[in-house]
Symmetry: none
DNA sequence: TAAATTTTCATTAATTTTTCCTGAACTGTA
DNA sequence: TACAGTTCAGGAAAAATTAATGAAAATTTA
């Protein structure tokens, strides 16, 4: 990940903390900005348009949550990642529960390694630019996308309704396109290790999925299992 | 298998589960350690250097996948076996996919017997150290590569589908390019010592492989066995 | 209760695995 | 060199395994 393309805003009333965080994030390659209070945070944020904001909850005058609410109102800041920094012992229910609009929160004291990792993960998640690594096992699928909330399978924009078992099965295959999943593995992951169903059951589900997706997606590897692959033969 | 030589780390935020797993694994003879959150897991792992880590995906603060990523970064932990414990219905693409770096995952509820078996198998698998012959070609260096996950044989970038027996046979030969495998050895490794098949069976499989790979790969050493070699005559 | 979903079952189909037979290549020997 | 005795390759096909299919029963859901 090229970190130099990311702007991070740190907001804390303690200069010491700002300095430590700043030092470490800077060393990682991020562009770092700081603010020591809510008001300042809003100004810097508006000007710099950071990708991620680390916000201390406990601050005088305008606290983290209020600042967060204000930040969210700024143009282009609706999707900025806002992470709360909170001291241990503060009321989690208040922090985790409220809808001030934070994306995540960290409990102080935070190990720097953890914080850096979290920042990285959050940025990457928001990045959502699925790159293709040539040659390597590409686990992001091409034309098939799952909508787990609605139990929909979207293939080339077309929405297909899938019943639960079929959906779960497809989801499993899709979780690693190309990988051959053995029957055992499929039963284990889709049905669970409690339930025991006949071998033909799986065949039938595979057939149903094939009927909906059309041919060329699910391939049988006789004696081994099934795999999903879009391009191949 | 002497289980007392293995250290297993259990990570789950639910104490009950930890207790049950701990009890059972302990009874099997493993050395068991526990942690109730990702942070603790990292600390214990760093100190105890476990051989296998059972990691619940759903945990507060730092979830299993994130923890996994962190664990992988610890020194000497690159090859530790990490197994995810996941509830059925969770997004497979999140669990199996992504580069969290898990070796396997189990779906809850897991039968204890299943879990113990899986642990045993995984530990044993990791035990086998692939032997290298000094002068021989490395299996990855040649133009033939096996992709076990996809069950494909890749020869000069070209993907070839191999049926099971042929795949296993080729895998054996490829495990030590240049070495001559005796018929006896091949039958033992590929068919297992219980199954008894005629001598001609092997010839036929070799022929099939030759048909697919083309000549120049598998060489017959009359009266001794077969070997795979890419360069020689 | 009807509709949809999931599972089973009997058959059929396809592929894989194995056997068998013929002949070529090689080995050692008279 | 010619002769038996092995050992393996190649063609063809039987045997066995495994999966696809059609239809229907069982189960769950709406």
């Amino acid at each position: 990940m090229d970190k130099s393309g990311y702007r991070i805003l740190l907001v804390d009333d303690e200069e010491d903390i700002l300095e430590i965080l700043s030092f470490n994030l800077d060393r990682e390659g991020y562009q770092v900005f700081t603010a020591t209070n809510g008001q300042e945070a809003l100004e810097v944020a508006a000007r710099q348009q950071p990708h991620l904001i680390l916000l201390d909850v406990m601050m005088p005058e305008m606290d983290g949550m209020e600042t967060c609410g204000e930040l969210r109102k700024l143009p282009g800041m609706e999707k900025t990642i806002i992470v709360f920094l909170t001291a241990r012992g503060e009321d989690y229910s208040q922090i985790a529960g409220f809808d001030a609009g934070a994306d995540d929160y960290l409990v102080k004291p935070v190990k720097m390694k953890v914080l850096l990792k979290r920042v990285e993960v959050l940025l990457r998640r928001r990045e959502q630019v699925p790159k293709k690594s040539p040659g390597a096992a590409d686990r992001s699928s091409g034309s098939i996308v799952l909508d787990r909330d609605r139990y929909l399978v979207i293939r080339k924009g077309e929405k297909l309704a899938f019943p639960r078992k079929e959906f779960e099965l497809l989801a499993l295959l899709l979780s690693w396109p190309g990988k051959v999943f053995s029957r055992e593995e499929i039963f284990d992951k889709v049905w669970g290790n409690e339930v025991i169903v006949g071998d033909r059951t799986l065949d039938v589900h595979i057939r149903k999925i094939r009927e909906k997706l059309g041919p060329g997606y699910i391939h049988t590897v006789k004696g081994v299992g099934y795999k999903l692959e879009e391009k191949e033969d």
